[in-house]
Structure formats: structure tokens, C-alpha cells
Symmetry: D2
Subunit: 259 residues, 4 copies
């Protein structure tokens, strides 16, 4: 019963200075709270709602910034990959390759990610049952790489809506792999703004608390110093100043739960 881990960072790498500033702030808050920290940020947003949504800094610049974060702050770094051609370069720069939810059934991507030997965090598709993730994990494990994380990020619940099923956490844990709860994407309202996804960040702390009480290895929660002006996922990202009180609450619940 290890303590839970925080996976956080801005949705996308906006530029080098911003990524470093966010890593500095978040790693500091986590250290003060005594919570292990993994930095997350994306070099490319490959499935924006709209073709005019901002994509990101690209793979070369992005991986170089992530490597710098890792070197400077000493924290593991996570980023998402979108096709098999990206995994090798990404695995050289980061510790954890994340498979986006829409792509969680793409066999070639899962196999390629697995073969790098990096930790592979697979997000459960909004269209999948939690027990379906056993076959997904098996695709990665078939490469001999058992360093797998499985992440809950909400299930489709009618149109433009998600619901978080806390039963999903123990169900996925039956695979034996650590389970992560993504508290910010779980409060997305997909496509809810017409040309972008909406969200209800005010519910992210509630769901994070519920998930920790259900039992998880890590909480994933994107954060930003100015979420309302962020280029992506603004409606769900947590303002930086929410992180410290949230971690305090989660630590107490985690201790109560595992006590």
C-alpha cells in the first residue's frame, strides 16, 4: 500500500519557459506535501475538436523540453504518443509513454510503445468497459513489457457527457497493473462548446477524493497558472493554487483508506 502519486502538468507544452515554470511550481508543491510527482505535458494535441485548435510545439521541441524538465527537477516525465513512429524518440526523452483514450485499441501503437521498454500508461477509451482493459493491457504485455498503467478518464454517458464509474478502479486493478484516475479529463464535456470541449473543473476535486477513497495508485490532474486562457483543456485544468489543498485532502483520505 504505497502512497498515491500525483501526475500533473499543463495539458500542452506551450513553450519552454512555461513548461519549466509549471514543473518547478508543481514539483515544489508535491514535495512539500510529501506526494511523489510525475510531470505530464503533451507535445502535440492530435485530436482537437476543431481543425483550428492549437496543436502544440511539435515532437522535437517538445521532447527536448521534457528532457530538460526531467534533468532539472529530477521527476519522472510522461507524454502521450499518437503513432508508432513517435515512440522510440519519445521513450528516449521520457519515462512514461501515454496512449490516448481514443487510441487505446490501436494494436500497432500499443505494441510499439510496449517494445520501447518504457512504462506505458493506457487511458481507457470512453467507449470501453473497465473489464475490456485486460485485453488492452495484454497487447502491451505481449511485448514482454509489464510496466503498464491503466487510467480511468470517464465513460460516455449520452451525448457530450461523461460519467466516472468508481467501480472501474477496482475492476481494472484486477489486472494487477496500477490504476490511475484522471480527475480533469473525467470532468470534460466532450464537444460541449461546439468547436471545443467544455468542462466542469469544480467537480475534479470531488472525483479525485472519491477515486482515492475507492483506491488508486495515482491521481492525474492537469494544472495551469491561468487555465481560462490556456490553449487547450482550459475548462477542466485546475488552477495551480488548488493543488496544495487538494493534495492535503487526498493524502488524508488515502491514509484513512489504507490505514
Amino acid at each position: 500500500d504505497l502512497p498515491f502519486v500525483l501526475i500533473s502538468g499543463p495539458c500542452q507544452i506551450e513553450n519552454r519557459d512555461h513548461a519549466l515554470m509549471m514543473a518547478d511550481r508543481l514539483s515544489g508543491i508535491a514535495a512539500k506535501a510529501g506526494v511523489p510527482f510525475i510531470f505530464k505535458s503533451s507535445f502535440d494535441k492530435a485530436n482537437r475538436t476543431s481543425v483550428s485548435g492549437q496543436r502544440g510545439v511539435g515532437i522535437d521541441a517538445g521532447l527536448s523540453i521534457l528532457a530538460e524538465v526531467k534533468a532539472r527537477f529530477g521527476c519522472p516525465v510522461l507524454t502521450d504518443v499518437h503513432d508508432a513512429g513517435q515512440v522510440e524518440a519519445a521513450a528516449e526523452a521520457v519515462d512514461i509513454l501515454q496512449i490516448p483514450a481514443f487510441l487505446c485499441r490501436q494494436t500497432d501503437l500499443l505494441l510499439a510503445a510496449g517494445r520501447t521498454g518504457a512504462v506505458v500508461n493506457v487511458k481507457k477509451g470512453q467507449f470501453l468497459a473497465p473489464w475490456d482493459m485486460a485485453a488492452v493491457a495484454q497487447k502491451v504485455a505481449s511485448t514482454g513489457n509489464e510496466r503498464i498503467l491503466l487510467t480511468e478518464r470517464g465513460a460516455s454517458f449520452g451525448y457530450n457527457a461523461l460519467v466516472s464509474d468508481m467501480r472501474s478502479l477496482p475492476v481494472m486493478a484486477q489486472t494487477g497493473y496500477p490504476v490511475v484516475f484522471d480527475a480533469t479529463h473525467s470532468v470534460q464535456q466532450p464537444g460541449g462548446l461546439g468547436s471545443a470541449s467544455g468542462g466542469q473543473r469544480e467537480f475534479a476535486p470531488v472525483l479525485a477524493r472519491s477515486a482515492v477513497a475507492a483506491g488508486v495508485a495515482a491521481i492525474f490532474a492537469e494544472a495551469h497558472d491561468d487555465p481560462d486562457n490556456a490553449p487547450s483543456d482550459g475548462p477542466v485544468m485546475l488552477p495551480l493554487e488548488w493543488i496544495q489543498p487538494l493534495l492535503g485532502k487526498l493524502k488524508a483520505i488515502d491514509a484513512a483508506m489504507k490505514g
Copy 2:
């Protein structure tokens, strides 16, 4: 920030001895845990899946047994009512009138229950959004009775399935009325056994923990000394021996959450 309350008992009043035994056992466990206790049991199961499902002891015998439980064990007593003609007699015997989820929009029943002056616990229909419960509560409140509880017991999620949305708890709390999480009916698989509802009691403790971490006034969890042979709701009721460890966990999480 009062501590949470336990509402528990066997799904239906099977007979006087069984009800008294269960009230004795449950009130004892709750007292030892320092958790306020409300006894719940039904005198009639008015909406069984099948016409051959066992209905119960009836209103006269049932209310008399509930009054005896109240007198003997000193705990408040809750039972559900199914039409306006039942509310007066029920309100004389019990403290809390419960409106079943399927009936939560029946105006006459809500008004009649409200007019008794008893506490009214309205279960949210599986077909309702949490914010829809404000108008439901308003029906009761229009009688001048503001002693209202609102209970989450799962939302329809495809066929023969429910999902528990923890956001529902803070949303309903915005009405100002205490919110209850029903951990056992939330793990029903409605109609899942063909001529009866199935269920997954193993997930009830998980959801109860999540709900307490989200924040609730009470946990509702039906219990039985031999659930697998109970005449109704067997697949979801908790074995008596689960209650004590569950309460311990919930108390710790509640303290962490409210600390």
C-alpha cells in the same frame, strides 16, 4: 460538518423476530462505531420485477413492527410509502417517509408525505439528473415541510445497468437538504436476472467509500444475516459481518474529508 449517519436494515420486514434481531444487531454495531443509526425496512415491495416476487408483511403488521423497533432500540425508523393513502398511518409509526425512486415525480405522493410533517427522504429516479431533484424537493417544501432528504441510488446506464455519479452528491447538496448515498441499490443490475434484479454487492463498500469522500450526510446500505436467501434484494444486501469494518473505514474517510 456533522458525522455521517448509517441508514440500514433488511430490504423488507420478513417477520417481527427477524426485524427485531436485525435492529438489535445493527444498532449495536453502529453504537460501538459511534455512528448515528436509522433503521430501515419495507412493509411492501410494490414494484417487484416479477408478479411472483414476495411482497412483504403488509402495512398494518409492518408499521406495528417498525414502531416496536423504534420503542425498543430508541433509533429513528424509516420506511417507504407507495401511495398517498399510506402516508398518515406510516407517519404515526415512523420518523422518515421514503419516496421510492420510480415514484419520485408523483406529485400527490410527495405532497401527502410532506403534509404529515415527517421527514421525507426522496430517492432520485434512475431517469433523473441530480439537478432535477431541486424541483422534486420543491414539491415537498411547498407543503411547508422542509425536513427533506435526497438520496442518490444510481442512474440508468444502458440496459440492466446503473452507474453512480459522485458529482450528484454535491449537486443535490446545493438544494440545502442533506444528501444520502444508497450504496446497495446503486449496485443493482435492474432486471438483470430476468425475473429479478441482480446485483454486485462487492462494489457497495467501494461506492460507499467514494461517496463519503465526496461528502454525504448519510450512507444507506441494506444488510441481512443471510442475504443470499433473502426474499428481495439479496444480490445487493450486505452480510451483517461486513458492517463493522465498513463503518470503521467510512468513519476514517469522513474524518479525513471533514478534517
Copy 3:
């Protein structure tokens, strides 16, 4: 393979003149189209979203108006009942007793309705799977009354939304009872207006066509001469002038389907 029947009328009996006018207009349109017609209207709206929603003319006035419609226009008449105490009087005045969707599992109401010997139309709850309706029909049939209709009116699909599953029609038909598709309540957005249900009447003709192509015994579609000012279900009721062209299309599809 009989031709399909039209069940129509204003959601509620607003007053005698309006009910007679609507029955006159609708029976005329149906006769011209060669479609058998059943008049539907409610004497009480017992589960309005809000306590201030208009309830209706009441049972005595309502049944008397319905009996007059039946006598004057020679069409069968359908109305909904909400508790067992209403069924006898209702069965004397009308041909078909309708069980509202929220009440479709209330055993006493189903048994009482069945015992009158009238045709009983049970609306499938938004929270039920189509195969669950076999046990519901069996409750009515247990009284010896096999004159049963089963109506699809949408399934819960996330919050404040319904979806119409056309597979439901052949699944319910496996019971051997005629199946009705309710095209107007199926386009409700339950609770979608905050203090009332919204709706999208523009999709009712689409769903009616789909249902006839899937195969049904009857199409249920509420109609009104001024739906936007109707006291209930305005957003879903069809303007009277939509009925004739819709019937023409449905008849052609029905003939193609059964040809």
C-alpha cells in the same frame, strides 16, 4: 399484418370544447387517410416536473368528456391512470387504460388495471430494457386479461435526454402483444427546461417513420392546434397540420414494409 393505428390527441384535456374540437379534427384526418384512430387525452398530469405545472381537469370532468368523445365520434378512447383507485371509473368511460412509464413496475396498479378487463397499454419505463417488459406484461396477464399493449417511449441516455432504440420494437413484439411507438414523448428532453421538460418535435416524424419501418401496431403522437401555448408537453406535441402529411408517409412505409 393489419395496417397501423394512430393514437393521438392533446396531452391533457384542457376543457370540453377543446377536447371535442381536437377529436373532431383528428378523427377526420385519420378517416380521410384510412388509418384507424384512437383518441388519447389525460385528465390529470400526476408527475409534472414542477409543483406549479398545470394538472388538468380532474377525473370526474375528464372521464365525462372522454365518454362524450367516444359517443360522438365513435372512436376508441385512451387515458392514463395513476393509482389503483382510479381504474374502475376509468374503465367504465374509456376503452384503453394507459399505465404511465414511471409507474410501469407498480404491481398493484397493473393488477387493478388488468382486472377491469379493459385493454391495458403499458408504457415502458425510461429505466427498463425492452426484454424487461415481458415480466411487466405478465403482471397484467396474471389477472386473466391478455388485452395488453406495450409502448416504447425512449430510454434514458445520460441526463435530460432519451434515445429511441428501434430494436426495442421487435424485442417487445416477442411477447405476442401489439407494440406501440410513442413518437412525441420519445423526443422529450426530460427536465430539460429546468422547471419543465423540453423537447424536439421536429424529430418526431423521423422516429415515427423509423418505427413503422421497424414494424409496429400503432403510432402514438400527441397533437395540438397550438402546441407552443399548450399547458403541458408543448415542445413535443405535433401541430395539427403535421398529421395529414405524416400519416401519408407512414401509410406508404407501412405498406412497403408489410408488402
Copy 4:
């Protein structure tokens, strides 16, 4: 109001002889029925439920067989592509590039497909609302290629289940692009067999009839001479002998609908 088109073929290209035989049989049946025909088959199944599911003949062999089908039977040919690197070769061999549902938000794939100038058929993700497809189509159209088809293939409805919302067809048609209804994938039970998707092919004709009555440009329905022994999608593919009677019914409904 053109007549509807049939898009059909075996889920995957099993080998040259089988593909040619199926194209021969299906094009013959369609010609006899007077229904325009497009042959569909996949060279790679890139997102099988299980890593041990059969993938297919691969892109080189597959495209060569599809080109032969096109040359020999004179029908347009459709196949699905899974990453941007495949689109150019595919567009040389086939007329229509299909974007799989899980990949319908992957911007690079949509842009690459659009740039080939081929017709692009985008399947609506099970996690998307029909109105969300306008932004998806806009990604393709941003390349200057407006030869776009949009396909409904079911929406997530709880776990391991889909539901077909017939409102989706007119909603997507508001984009101005032709709308296709995929009758066989819509009756999938995703992941329902544990290591493969289950399905209910018996409902495919019902949904196809409903879709034609709602209004569509094309019906997509995979077919096979021995579906129960097919390497993929066996539970949903239609036996070849179902096609002729189904087309007859659909033509009659289409004529009634457009008449």
C-alpha cells in the same frame, strides 16, 4: 432524392479468391435489385479486441486485390486507412478512404485523407454526438476536398453495448454531406465476447429499414458467405442470402419515403 446505395463486402480481405467471389456475388445481387453498389473490405484490422485477433492480408496485397475487384466488376471500392502513411497508396487503388470510428478525431489522418482528393467516409465515433461530426467534416473540408461521407455506426450505451439513434441521420445530413447508416457495426456488442466483440445480426435488417425510413444516402452492411466462421465481425455480418430480400424491402421503403 437519389436511390440509396449499398456498401457491402466481407469485413476483411481474407484472400484474393474470397474477395473476388464476394464482389461477384454482391455486385450481381445489387445489379439485379437495381441498387448502386460499392465494394468494401479491409486490408488490416488495426484495433482488434485481442492481440491474437487476425489482422488481415496487409496493405500491399490488399490494395492490389481491391484494384482487381474494381477493374473486374466496375464498382467503386472502399477501404479503411489507419494512419497518414497509408492514404496515398490507398487512394491510388480505391475510390473511398474510410476513417475508422475510433480515429475520427485524429486530425492528421483526416487531413491526409482529404488531401488525396479521394472520397472520404468518416465513421462517427461511438463517443461522439451527431452534431460533433460537423467539426470532423470541417477538418477534411479544410483541405479543399468536399467529397465527404458521414457514417452512423452506433453510440455507446452503457458498457459493451451500442444504441442507434435515428435522429443522428438528419442531424448529420445538415452538414450537406451524404449520410450512411452502417447496419452491421451498429449491432455490435463491443468487447461482449471477452476477447472479441459480439453482435446481434438479427437486428441489422430492422435498423437498416429504420434508417432508410429516416432518410439516408447509403446502407453499409458487411456480408459473408459463412459469417459464423469469418475471422472478424462474424457475429454481425449478414449471410449472403439475406442481402437480396433485404434490398427488396429497403428499396420499397426508400421509394415510399422519397415518394
